[in-house]
Structure formats: C-alpha cells, structure tokens
Amino acid sequence: MGAGAMLGLVLLVVVLALATAFGLYRRATDGRMRTVAAPVAAPIPVADDAPEVDVTTPTAAEHGGERLTAQVLGADLGAQATLVQFSTAFCQPCRATRRILDEVTTMVPGTSHIEIDAEAHLDLVRQLDIRRTPTVLVLDARGVIAKRAVGLPRKADVIAALGEIIPA
C-alpha cells in the first residue's frame, strides 16, 4: 500500500468517525425544546414590561424574554400561545415541522402557528440569532419568547411546552 493510499485510508476512517459522532450528537439534541425564559406561572398579571423587539437595533446574547408583536411577525398572535416557525426553501425538516405544529395548534385552543420565511426576514433572523431552520419559538400570550427548539421538534414536546406556558 502506497503512502497516498495509507493517507486516504486514515482520512476516510477519521472523517467517518467524526461524521458519525456529529450525526449521533445531532440526532440526540435535534428539536429539543429549551426554556429561554421562565414560564408565566400566574394567569398573566399583564405587566407589559418585556422589551419589544426593535428590528433596527440588533442586540446580542440572550433572546429569551424578548417580546414579538403581531406587527413584527406579520400575523396575529394566538390568544394563549403562538408557535413561530422559521423556515427556508432548502430545508428538509421544515415540512414535517409545519405538519406537527399545525396539528398541535388545531388541537390546543387559543394557539396559532406562524411560519416565517427566514430569507425574507433576515433582520429578525439576526436579531433572534436564528442559525438554521427549522427553528421554533414558543411565545406566551403576550408574545414573550419562552421556549426555543432548533430542528424538527417532537409533537409531545411541543404539547408539553404549551402546557407549561398556558395557565391551567
């Protein structure tokens, strides 16, 4: 075996090992709902002190607790909670995500699903640091971002997230 073939073999093994590790990690973490702001416990003592997103001045770091308005999203918020899905044309899991979120919002009263074309809203995408699609934000009744999932979320997790946000 020549030096070239040896190098090729080593590279092949290393690349496949790294890709496998990445794939398994991604499979384990993809679509997981993360809490980015404390859920609203009491039936909303509507102190509208949460900052509204100002699309013109990007802020860094933490986006939990930020408030999205119907004006920014281009569609009305759900009375109890809103699922905001960022999608692109070159996105395989976006369709399955859409199906799941539509099913959930049909099932849970007072919720709505808003799908946003990330490419057409790059300012908002940067503002909220959306890095890949689908990214799903779960907003409470006021439009405050409470949860965030990157990748195809599981239906049960979406329902559970809504359960935490919507006051019983």
């Binding site: 020549g2 070239g4 073939a5 190098l7 090729g8 073999l9 590279l11 092949l12 690349v15 496949l16 790294l18 890709a19 496998t20 990445f22 794939g23 991604r26 499979r27 692109t88 044309a89 070159f90 996105c91 395989q92 369709r95 199906r99 990330a118 490419e119 790059l122 995408v125 940067r126 959306i130 890095r131 890949r132 699609t133």
Partner: protein, 154 residues
C-alpha cells in the same frame, strides 16, 4: 390532508431517492479518497462532479443515481409514503459540486492537499445524508445567507 396526495415529479421526490444517491456518492468518494494520487481517483471525482452538476443545474430527474433509483430500486420497494421538495437535494448537489470541482482543480494544479480536504468534506456530507438523513449543505444555507447578506457595518 397529507402531502402524499399531491406529488408533482418536477417539485416533489420520494425521500428515499436522495438518500440512495447519497449512499452511492459516499462509496464513490470513499474509493476516490483511497486511490487519491492515481488516475483512478481523478476519474471517480470527475464522474461525481458531473453527477452533482446534473442534479444541481439540470434537475434530479437527470441525475444518474436518481435515474438508477427510479428504474431499478424503487420498483422493488414499497410505494413511497414520504415526499420532499426537490429544492433541498438540488441545493445539496450544488454544494457537493463545489467541493468536487475544487478537488479536481486541486488535482489539476498539483495541490493534492486541497483535493484531500475537499473530498473529505464532500464525503462527510454524503455520509451524514445517507446515514442520518441530514442535509449538511441545507443546514449551512441560512448561516451563509446571513453572512453574505450582512449589512456593511464599520
């Protein structure tokens, strides 16, 4: 209404097709990596580059591995139940094309290291697609878009 009821072959594809193509791509690129430095590797990478180019610039129906899937493999499988838009696999083919074209250029100009790196990246992407159903190029799309369309700030 499930998506399966509307399937236009120009815009929709059986999800198993692109994964089958990715698996063949994986084998071809692995063989290229093992033979890199020999004329065999050049031929393999050239073939793969043409395959990617057909998929990206002409369409998935013109892509040889896809044709093989539809004519030989698909008839032996259960009917398709899941479809996806052709846009993601076409974009993935474009990304693959860029990597294999760079590898070819590297080989043509004697920059063998460039060829090794480019083939390795294409191989990783093909593997992730075949084994996990991940479209790495698609996932990088928004980040690329964000960077390219970034407003000029100081």
């Amino acid at each position: 209404m499930p998506d399966v009821t509307v399937c236009d072959p120009r815009t929709e594809v059986d999800v198993r097709g692109p994964r089958f193509s990715a698996a063949i791509t994986l084998v071809v690129l692995a063989a290229a990596l093992l033979t890199l430095g020999s004329p065999v590797a050049v031929v393999l990478i050239a073939i793969q580059t043409v395959v990617f180019a057909l998929g990206a610039f002409v369409g998935l129906r013109a892509q040889p591995y896809g044709i093989l899937f539809r004519s030989v493999v698909q008839p032996r499988l259960a009917p398709a139940t899941e479809f996806e838009s052709v846009a993601p696999p076409r974009f993935a083919a474009l990304v693959g094309f860029i990597f294999t074209a760079v590898a070819l250029l590297g080989l043509a100009t004697g920059l063998t290291t460039v060829a090794y790196v480019a083939v390795s990246f294409a191989l990783a992407a093909a593997f992730l697609n075949a084994a996990f159903g991940f479209c790495l190029g698609c996932e990088m799309y928004l980040i690329g878009k964000r960077m390219l369309a970034r407003p000029v700030t100081a």
